[in-house]
Symmetry: C2
Amino acid sequence: MKTYSIGEVAKMMGVTTHTLRFYDKEGLLPNVRKNSAGLRRFTEDDINWLLILDCLKATGLPLKEIRHYIELAKQGSKTLSERREMFIHQKERVKQQMEILNKNMEKIDFKIKYYDEAIKNGEENVYLKNKHLAEEKKRLFKVD
Amino acid sequence: MKTYSIGEVAKMMGVTTHTLRFYDKEGLLPNVRKNSAGLRRFTEDDINWLLILDCLKATGLPLKEIRHYIELAKQGSKTLSERREMFIHQKERVKQQMEILNKNMEKIDFKIKYYDEAIKNGEENVYLKNKHLAEEKKRLFKVD
DNA sequence: GCTTGACTTAGAGTCGACTTTAAGTTCTAT
DNA sequence: ATAGAACTTAAAGTCGACTCTAAGTCAAGC
């Protein structure tokens, strides 16, 4: 079976070899084997796992919860539903992140419109001249 | 004009008073005035700014770049287009974040389907039985 | 008048996720 | 055979964004 060196994998994943060794030390690379010379050899499965790890990290799961997930996986099929729950929960987190991102996008779009108007008028006092913007400001910038 | 104490604003914004003072110390609250007793009094405009600050933070702009934006704003209308550019750039960042989030959502959805199938079969060896999943795995988990 | 919460400066501590250093070993190409 | 890259380990250092402590003063509401 084809395997990859730590350097090759680092390049593939866009991280440094240091980071991969750090993950290994932290128990985040559960299956990576070492060859007779003590060098890590990564399989396709290891790389697949790194892609999941990346997904979990990118969606805000802390490394120690990722480690917990690994522990579950090691315990075999009796933890299948617990692992499923973890991904369901993560999906909810991602939905929330999307909502927040959409709201922030609206605010940023508003600010761009604001600056378009301000540049057109050569000054910042925009709300008196543009009632539409003033209304939008009210809608977007309020505290719950 | 109605003003708010640091404690009221902290509650509104869902942060601690420590954080607000930290922001002030770091030059991130440019207009907050203090009353005769030296207590901070936040205006509606200050709260509006905190909402923008929050938006910029949440979309990944570091505090020192936020400080830079404040510097620009202080320099008046000659920096209007530079400030507009900053928001245009931030909009691009947010678009990227959305793309990444969508891709990660697909991976998470895949994992949920994977676990649904594994639970149904009582074991993890799912790809032999479900060609559709095997195909989707190939599509979702590949390194560029 | 007492409790609660505000203020001040200055500095130390925390947390997560790396990142770098040091000192040594092994692989690959010429 | 030797240079230089890539590998090994353990441990210390960095960074951003808070978070808290200390030690003391001041003010508002009941």
